[in-house]
Structures are given as C-alpha cells and as structure tokens.
C-alpha cells in the first residue's frame, strides 16, 4: 500500500503531508526533515528511488521527483510497483496542472483544500483509486461546482471565493 504522499519545496518546507497511517505531528515533522535530508544528498541524474526502511520499516521505499521548486514524494511498500508509482505521481501532477492551469508552488499552498481533494480522488486509504487525470479532474470539478451551489446561500464576500 501507499504509506504517504509528501510535497516539500526545495528549502525543506512542507507543502502537503498526507500519511495513510496516522503519524503524530512531531513524527511527521521528523520524517519530513529526514526525507528532505536524503533528497538533498541525491545527485542529479540518478534513479528516483530511495530505500526508506530506516524511516518506515522493512521493504518501504520512496520515489521522488522534482517539479520546478517542489519535491513530490510517494512512500510505499513492496505491494506497489516502483515505476508505476512514478506514473501515479505523473497523474497527480497532470491533474494539478489541469485544475490550476500551470500549477505553481503558491497554488498548492493556497489551495491546500483542493489539492487534498484531488489526491483523495487518486488514492484512497493507501490504495490507487483512479489513474486517469481526466476522470479525476472531472470529479473534482463536479465537487467544486456542487460546493459552490451549496455555498451560494452564504453571502459572497469579495476576496473570498469558493
């Protein structure tokens, strides 16, 4: 199963932390720091995989990829295929790109809620749920629209939408 999804920027600031098995906040911070340390020490043009058994226990690996200023990290155990995880990450990023049009770090910071929504459509409880970014984007759109409708009862305030 997938143990967690983490986005950190190139200075080690977490942008998204999602563990599919609960980790207390302190532990989360520690894990993010250790992962960031490992990622920083990696040279360029090497494989995208890192053994993470010292952090998460036997047979747990992580795959990472950098997009602009962000590291995307998926943590998973041996019931997942490494290369397929890279593609899943690709799906995630493609979907982000679709939903935010040229996604950048700030989009992720501010639309935290929506990023989680997207991720929840792709991975549920540590298992891959959907791998078509089209489908995911559609689902997210539908949810956003409905939420907006539900919201229209509330007076809209300038500077605060959705």
């Amino acid at each position: 199963m997938i143990r967690g999804v983490i986005i950190i920027n190139d200075q080690g600031k977490p942008r998204l932390i999602k563990f599919y098995e609960f980790q207390p906040p302190d532990k989360q911070q520690e894990l993010v720091r250790s992962i960031y340390r490992v990622l920083c020490s990696r040279a360029e043009n090497v494989s995208n995989f890192v053994k993470a058994d010292s952090l998460f226990g036997p047979d747990v690996r992580l795959v990472y990829k950098t997009f602009a200023t962000l590291y995307f990290v998926f943590i998973f155990d041996k019931s997942e295929n490494e290369l397929a995880m890279i593609d899943l990450m690709q799906v995630f990023v493609e979907t982000l790109n679709k939903c935010f049009r040229e996604v950048c770090e700030l989009d992720i910071v501010f639309n935290f809620y929506k990023v989680h929504m997207i991720l929840d459509e792709i991975i549920l409880g540590g298992q891959v749920l959907e791998t078509s970014s089209e489908e995911v984007a559609n689902a997210v759109d539908a949810i956003s629209r409905l939420e907006k409708n539900a919201n229209s009862m509330i007076p809209s305030i300038p500077g605060w939408q959705r």
Binding site: S47, D87, E102, Q127, L129, I143
Partner: protein, 950 residues
C-alpha cells in the same frame, strides 16, 4: 477554476504565507505561526464568527499543523464542521478530521454518528466524503457501527461510490481481519462488477487476502487469467488506457496476484504461462508504464513454477533494463536479476559487466540494490571479493542503519563461506573495527563461540591455529585508539582464554596488555570487567600449571582501583581475582579449567547436593520446609485470611488504576504479614475473589500457586526470595554467557579450501585499471557455475511439463466452463460495445457467462445495483454508460489513436503549445505574485512546470 488575480483566499492568509516566506530564521517563523495560532484560537472560539469564515480558519489551522505547531485546540471545531449541512463545510470538516485525528482519538466517537448519517445520504458526494473519513478514522471498535451501511453501498448506482466502498471494506480487513471475514465473498462478487474500475478496486483487498492465504483462492486463478487477458487485449473502454497501455495499474495488480497464486504451484502456474508470455511480448518498452508492466511480469515469472521459455524472455528483458541509460531501469534490472538468480544462478554471468558498473555507480540506491544482488549470489569462490567490497562500502558510509545491515551481512557471509581462518579473522577484525557497536551483540558472542569451537571439525590443530592467529591479530590491533567497546570485549575474552595457550606469549605480557586496555577505558565498565576476568583466567592457568606467579604492579593498582569502584560487579571481580592468589594448583584447575568454554555445565536444579546439609539441620532440630502451595492450601482458613486481607481496601479509596489481569503473580509476602490497612495493589486473585465471592476460593489460588512454585522452585527452596545464586563462587559472567548459548552443531558447513586461485592483495591493487573490471567480473562470477554454497543447483525438468496444461485444466472440477472457453472466443463482460458479436450470439448473456466463472458466489443475480434486471436491458444500460466505447472498440487496433478524439486528448492532456498561449499572461502575473510574496527567495522562476510534460 478561479485562481485569477489572487488565489481565492483572504488577504489575511496571503499575508501569513508571505510573512512566513520572508522570515529569515526558524525562530522568526515560529513567532509568526504562534501569533497566527493565537488569532485562530480567538476567532474559532468566538460564537459570532460567520460560518463561511470557519472554513478558511480550519484550512489555516491545517497549515499551521503542517508547519509543525500544535493545533489540537481546534480539533473540536473540525469535528463540529462535519455536522454542518453545508456540503463545503462538511467536506472541509471531514478533510480536517482525517488529517488531525488518529483512529483512537477521543473525538472520533462524536463523528461516528455523523458518518453513519452521511453514508445514507442521497448526495453521493456526501457519501464519498464520509467513505473517505471511514477509511481513515474507523477503528476496530467502531467498525460494526458503519459496516452495514458500507456493505449496502457496494450496490450503489454510482461506480465511484461502489469503488470507495470496496476500498473502505479493504481498510477494515486490514485493520481488523476478523471483522469482515464473513464478507470476503463480496470482494469476489465485485470482481464481476460491470464497471472495470470497481473490479480493479476489488483486486486490492483480494491481493492482501491472497497474500495471507493463497490456498483459499486457487479457484480464482482462471478468472484472474481471463480478466488479465481481456485487459491485455484492450477490451476495456479507451478511457482506461494510460499512455497507450490498457489499464496498466490493473495489469500490474493482476500480475502481482498471479505471482502469489502461482508460487510453488505447478498446476496454477501452467494456466498463467500463456498470458504472462503475451504480456511480456506486448509491452511497450519505450514508455515508463510499459516497463513497469514488463518488470512486474519478470517478478511474476520468477515466482511461478519455472518455465524455460518465460525465463528466457525474462532474461532478455533484464538485459534490456541493464543496458538502458536510465538509472531507474538499471535499478529494476538489478532487482529482477536478484529474483531470477534464485531459479537460475547462471543468469548473472551474462550481465557481469553491467553489474559491476552498477556497483561503481554514484547512485547510492543502485549501489545498495547491487549489494543485495551480490549478497544473494555469494558462494565460497567469490566470497572474498564480495565481502571485501562490502566492507569497503561500509566504511565509506555514515548511515548507521545501513551500516548495521551490511555489517551483519558481512559477518554472515564470512561465517558461511570463509575460505580459511586467517581471512576470517581479518575480515571480522575489519567489520568489528568499524561497526562493532552497530551489529547485534549476538554477533560478538558468535565470534567468540566460533573461536572457541573452531569450525566444527574434529581438527584440533586447525582450531588452535585459528586461535593463535586471532590472538596475534588482536595483540596487533588493540593498541589502536577508538576501538568499539564490543570489539574490545571480544579481544579481552579471547586473550584471556587463549592468550598463552600456544606458549608464544608470556603470561605477564598478556596481562600487561589487558591492564592497558582496562586503563585506557576508565569509563567503560563492561570492557574493564572483561579485561579483569581475562587477567584472572591467565593467573589461574599459571597457578594451575604450577608456575610461580607474582602480581604485576600495574595489575595490583588495577585491583585496588576496582575494589573501590562504584560498580559492584567490578568489585566482585576484583575480590575474586585477589582470592585466586591464595589457591593452590589443584583448586585453581578446578575453578578455571583450561579451554573449557565448550564444555557443558550441568545445573542441578533440585539442589540435591544440599540434601546432606538439610538432613543435618533437621536432625539438629530445624523445622522442615513446607512448600508455599501446601502452606496455602493446607487449610481453607489461611485462604480465607488472604481473602479477607483484601476486603477492607475495597471500601477504602483506591488511587491506582486496575491492572490488567496477569497470569499468577508469585506472592512474595506470606499472607499473615500483610497488614489489612495497607493499600494493596490490585491483584488478579483479588479481582476474581470480588467477582465470585461465594465460589470456592481455593481452587484457582492453589492452582496458580502450584504453577508458580514449579517455575521458580530452585530459589524458593529455603523460602527466602532473596536467595539468588546457587553456585558458591560466581564464575565470570562472560564465560557463562558464552557457555549458556546452547551449543548447536555448526550448521555453516563451511569448506576450507586451502588454496586460493587468486591472491587477495594483488586483486585489490588491480581494481583501479579498467581491464581490471574484467578480472573483478571473473572473480565475482567465474565460480558461480560451480557454485556449491547457498544455491544448490536447481534441478527442474520443466520441458516435460508444458504440454500437460490442458489435461490439468480440464481436471479442475471447480471451473467446468473454462475448459470449454479456450475453444471459442469467450463472450465477456467488457466487450459489450461490439454489436456485431452480440447479434451473432444472441442467446448468450455475457454477464451470465462471466458469472459462470464464479460458481462460488452461487447466485446468478448480477451486482445489486441492477438486481433483477434481465440481460438485455443490462446490455443497453451498459452501452449507455460507455457510449463512446463502441467507437473505440472498433478502432482499438488503430495504430494512430490520435484520430480518435478521445484517445488523443487523453494521452497528452495539456500540451504546452495549446495551453500556454492564452495563459501566458496569467502565468506571468502569478510569477510576479510569487516573487512578491517571497515564497521562494531563491528568485528562480518558481512556477510553470515546464519540464513536466515535455
């Protein structure tokens, strides 16, 4: 999607992000966040805060917690939000609680009711949100509360809901396998859901279940093979394609399942050969996902019953991986090779140069994977090179976790394959020098044991040679600074036991050395203890052999220092050492016999040697000993009293929590002594007494004390719990430790070839020059064909088996349909879009056919959503669902999917040329804002994932 201008959030949030981005130090950031926490505390607790603001506050709270600050004060507000009617607030609430709370949190109980209600909602988005929360927040205790609703949702009309319901059930079975064991048939049923996505979701729980117990699911082999075949033949709607591969994630899951089912099962494996071979042929090895499937197929082949053709194909694929420039593929190639050499050790030979390249690659991940491979292929002919390499790498890294692992592997390999004693001792010295404190303490004991026992052969000269070479090398090494403690312990022990055994070194020389060790490590009591015991052994050997001994001055001062030590252990040892000098040769021989580590010490548990003494005491008028059980059970009065003794405390205030019931605690205090007014810790017998005050008290009590007595009868002989050690003089503990390890026959069975084909030293020098690689390769792989160590030549006569598959298949009684299947193209679930086929075989209901595979489900009713509807209407139902599918199904052989509008847009969802034109301005604005906000002070263009899709 409205990130125009701002980012759809309030100015406050923007400012917060901005100030955090601009903060120059962690302390400054902490100050800002703490101020934010204070603001949020006030706002969230203010009853006048409008609801629509609440959402943002909760999101900000999430942000605060992500930065590592305590946000627990707001958890309750997140819980409250889940109760809200408004969808947006509700979903936000659910998101927050799934991130904030763990499944055992006290607040969960407040959410369960809401989840129950939401699972029944008409709005499927509410249901989905609730299912998301279920996956994360429901624990073993609360599963029954939501289980019925979740099971109902398996028949929901929306496939998204069905999918999530399957996942939720999977989660339950992970958390509490017992809770859903009666629902396993649901997973099987969902395999024939008419939505392939739901079928794919059902594979996840099945994978776990099969992983736990494959035998229960052997009947599904045919179904899985069929599904995989349909997927591989592109019978699924085009929308399941990913980078032109049909439903790759489903394929991968299925291959994983098949490899579990086929492991060690020839019959099942034979059913899979064709499809796995097909998939390997069809894989598009230019795309990432294609390679993922290829790799998964290799893994599958390596766990199936061996088939020469498939193995050959797998070897070819591995060759391709290893030759690739991509480190990812090399990594997978090495991994696949590791799996395959279990079946076919020769296969590594073809790739020797590639493997050596990987070993010298700067990529650490790849290097470690390669060491895994080398570890698996070590035999007695290449052990020296491999272990040498491992040690070299071990020294170079800092990661203590991996250092430990690789050190233990070195030790294991050295013990198993060591060509000669000298090499073995040298290797162990190197490992211990650099990682002794990291490896398991057992390893050190193993080393001592190995030196004591020799290699398990009845060759005394070889054993003593081993010991002398160990002593010699230790004397050389021990002067070096900063040796790990565990290594020094081994050294002291070996010097004490064998330092003067071969007569090469004088006793005073060894004793001097041991004193030096003790002196050099004043803070390490363990090392000092080992050293002093070593000295004691040497002296007593000397005394026993009748030589005149005189106490060295440094030894004298050491003893004096230790007599004043804080450590009672050291004191004891010093006293013992002192008293050794008063003994005569006979006594010294008795207490410290030479070379006796391997002798068994017989322990007389009955203490029968005391019988005479006891007899004498009784004759002199002492009271005979009455076992505790008899003392308690002899009259019910005493029991009654012990029963009584607890009674008052029930009325008094109790300040301690109830303990968990423990199996029979020994009563150390005789019951009479216990004062009734004392606060007594609650004891299990007490609980029992309270619960059954009228039941016969003696039964359970007597029984438990009986058991108790048997356990530690030795110590209780005299009725005094303090009496600890029966031995009159405690022999040195290290000696006992080693001896206590039950001497087992040395299973390593190492052979000791006295000749080595290549010299160790010369090889080391050669590593630098390129042609050397060849030599390294030769030394690594050359011997593998005549390997004798851990890979017994696997004899398989696979060729004869390939043609028996038909027979075995038809003999499988559980699936009669499938025997017929191969003769005609199976009309199947997923191929409904093709009207021509449907009309040509009008009588066949594809669903019925498919369900026929699963006779275990025993019901022919299709999945509950369309329950009762006949095949024809289902047909139309399905085609309407996938209206576009007929189109794609006809053109699925079309090599150019771009002609099909659907496929084209799917594969390259946002080609830069299309999107960038109209968006450029927006992107620039965003960029400007980003800079202004200062999230990334580095100043490079932070946005635009240009590299992403190019």
């Amino acid at each position: 999607m409205g990130s125009q201008g701002g980012f759809g959030q309030s100015k406050e949030f923007l400012d917060l992000i901005k100030s955090i981005g601009e903060s120059r130090s962690k302390a400054e950031e902490d100050r800002i966040v703490l101020r934010e926490v204070e603001t949020l505390k006030v706002r969230l607790n203010d009853p006048n805060t409008p609801k629509y603001k609440l959402k943002e506050y909760i999101i900000r709270l999430l942000y605060v917690e992500m930065l590592g600050h305590d946000a627990s004060f707001g958890y309750i507000h997140a819980v409250k939000m889940t109760h809200d009617e408004n969808l947006l607030l509700k979903r936000t609430g659910y998101l927050a609680v799934t991130l904030f709370l763990n499944e055992d949190h006290d607040l969960i109980i407040l959410i369960v009711n809401t989840i129950q209600k939401d699972l029944k909602s008409d709005n499927f988005l509410v249901v989905c949100a609730a299912l998301n929360a279920v996956c994360r927040l429901i624990n073993e205790e609360t599963i029954p509360a939501v289980l019925p609703q979740v099971v109902d949702l398996l028949g929901h009309q929306k496939e998204a809901v069905r999918k999530k319901a399957v996942m939720a059930l999977h989660r339950f079975s992970q958390k509490a396998p017992g809770s859903v064991s009666h629902l396993v048939s649901n997973f099987r049923k969902k395999l024939c859901d008419n939505d392939p996505g739901v079928m794919g979701a059902a594979l996840c729980p099945l994978f776990d279940l099969i992983n736990a117990d494959a035998d229960k699911y052997k009947d599904l082999v045919v179904s899985f093979v069929n599904i995989l075949k349909q997927v591989a033949e592109r019978r699924l709607p085009k929308s399941y394609d990913y980078h032109q591969m049909p439903a790759p994630f489903i394929q991968i899951k299925l291959l994983k399942i098949l490899s579990l089912l086929g492991t060690g099962d020839k019959k099942a494996s034979e059913q899979m050969y064709t499809i796995v071979g097909d998939i390997m042929r069809k894989c598009d090895s230019t795309s990432n996902i294609g390679n993922a499937i290829l790799y998964e197929s290799i893994c599958c082949v390596s766990s199936l019953h061996p088939n020469p053709k498939l193995l050959e194909a797998a070897a070819d694929a591995i060759a391709k991986f290893l030759k690739s420039d991509s480190h990812n593929l090399k990594y997978l190639g090495i991994d696949a090779l590791t799996r395959l050499i279990k079946i076919n050790p020769e296969i590594a030979e073809q790739h020797q140069l590639a493997v050596i390249d990987c070993l010298e690659d700067p990529d650490d991940t790849l290097k470690r994977k390669t060491f895994d491979l080398l570890y698996k292929m070590t035999n007695s002919s290449n052990v020296e090179v491999i272990v040498d390499r491992m040690i070299e790498y071990m020294i170079s890294i800092n990661d203590s976790h991996y250092k430990t692992e690789i050190a233990s592997r070195c030790v294991e390999l050295a013990e198993q394959f060591a060509p000669n004693n000298q090499w073995f001792i040298q290797t162990m010295n190197k490992v211990f020098e650099h990682a002794a404190d990291l490896v398991n303490a057992k390893v050190a004991h193993n080393l001592m044991k190995l030196i004591a026992e020799g290699f398990g052969e009845d060759d005394d000269t070889a054993d003593s040679q081993l010991r002398s070479s160990a002593v010699e090398s230790y004397l050389r090494i021990m002067g070096e600074p900063k040796l790990p403690s565990a290594f020094l312990q081994v050294i002291c022990w070996v010097l004490g036991e064998y330092g003067i055994a071969d007569g090469k070194y004088s006793a005073s020389y060894i004793i001097g050395k041991l004193c030096d060790v003790a002196e050099a490590h004043p803070d390490d009591d363990t090392v000092k203890a080992y050293a002093v015991t070593g000295i004691m052994k040497i002296y007593s050997f000397e005394i026993a052999s009748g030589k005149p001994v005189d106490l060295l001055p440094e030894c004298q001062s050491l003893i004096e220092e230790m007599l004043a030590s804080h450590s009672t252990d050291l004191q004891q040892r010093a006293y013992e050492l002192q008293s050794i000098f008063t003994l005569d040769a006979q006594a010294a021989k008795k207490i410290m016999p030479m070379d006796s580590t391997c002798d068994d010490i017989e322990i007389d548990k009955n203490l029968s040697f005391l019988d005479v003494y006891v007899q004498q005491a009784i004759e002199n008028g002492a009271q005979p000993y009455i076992p505790e059980s008899e003392r308690l059970g002899i009259s019910s009065v005493s029991d009654f009293r012990s029963h009584d003794e607890h009674e008052p405390s029930t009325h008094a205030l109790r300040f301690e929590a109830y303990e968990l019931p423990k199996p029979s605690l020994p009563h150390n205090i005789p019951p009479v002594l216990a004062s009734s007014t004392e606060l007594v810790p609650v004891e299990p017998s007490y609980v029992i007494d309270i619960l059954h005050p009228t039941s016969a008290p003696s039964a359970s009590d007597a029984g438990s004390s009986e058991l108790k007595l048997r356990l530690d009868g030795v110590q209780k002989k005299w009725g005094r719990p303090t009496y600890s050690s029966p031995a009159p003089s405690s022999s040195s503990t290290d000696l006992v430790k080693v001896q206590n390890e039950t001497p087992r026959p040395d299973s390593t069975g190492s052979s000791k070839p006295k000749t080595r084909d290549t010299s160790y030293d010369s090889r080391k020098q050669q590593n630098e020059i390129p042609p050397e690689k060849q030599k390294l390769a030769a030394s690594l792989f050359g011997g593998s064909s005549k390997s004798e160590g851990r890979h017994p030549p696997s004899q398989k006569n696979t060729k004869t088996q390939t043609h028996t598959s038909d027979k075995s298949r038809s003999s499988k009684a559980s699936a009669p349909d499938t025997a017929v299947k191969p003769s005609q193209p199976p009309p199947d679930l997923l191929d409904l879009g093709e009207p021509s086929i449907a009309s040509s075989v009008p009588s066949v209901d594809p669903f019925k056919q498919f369900e026929g595979l699963f006779d275990f489900t025993q019901e022919t009713t299709p999945p509950a959503s369309t329950g009762g509807v006949d095949g024809a209407s289902k047909d139309s139902d399905f085609t309407s669902l996938f209206a576009d599918m007929s189109l794609s199904a006809q053109s699925h052989i079309d090599p150019n999917p771009e002609s099909n509008g659907l496929g084209g847009s799917k594969v390259e969802p946002s080609s830069p040329q299309l999107n960038k034109g109209p968006n450029l301005k927006e992107a620039l604005e965003k960029d400007a804002l980003v800079r202004q906000v200062g999230v990334t002070p580095s100043g490079q263009n932070p946005n635009l994932f240009k590299d992403l899709l190019g």
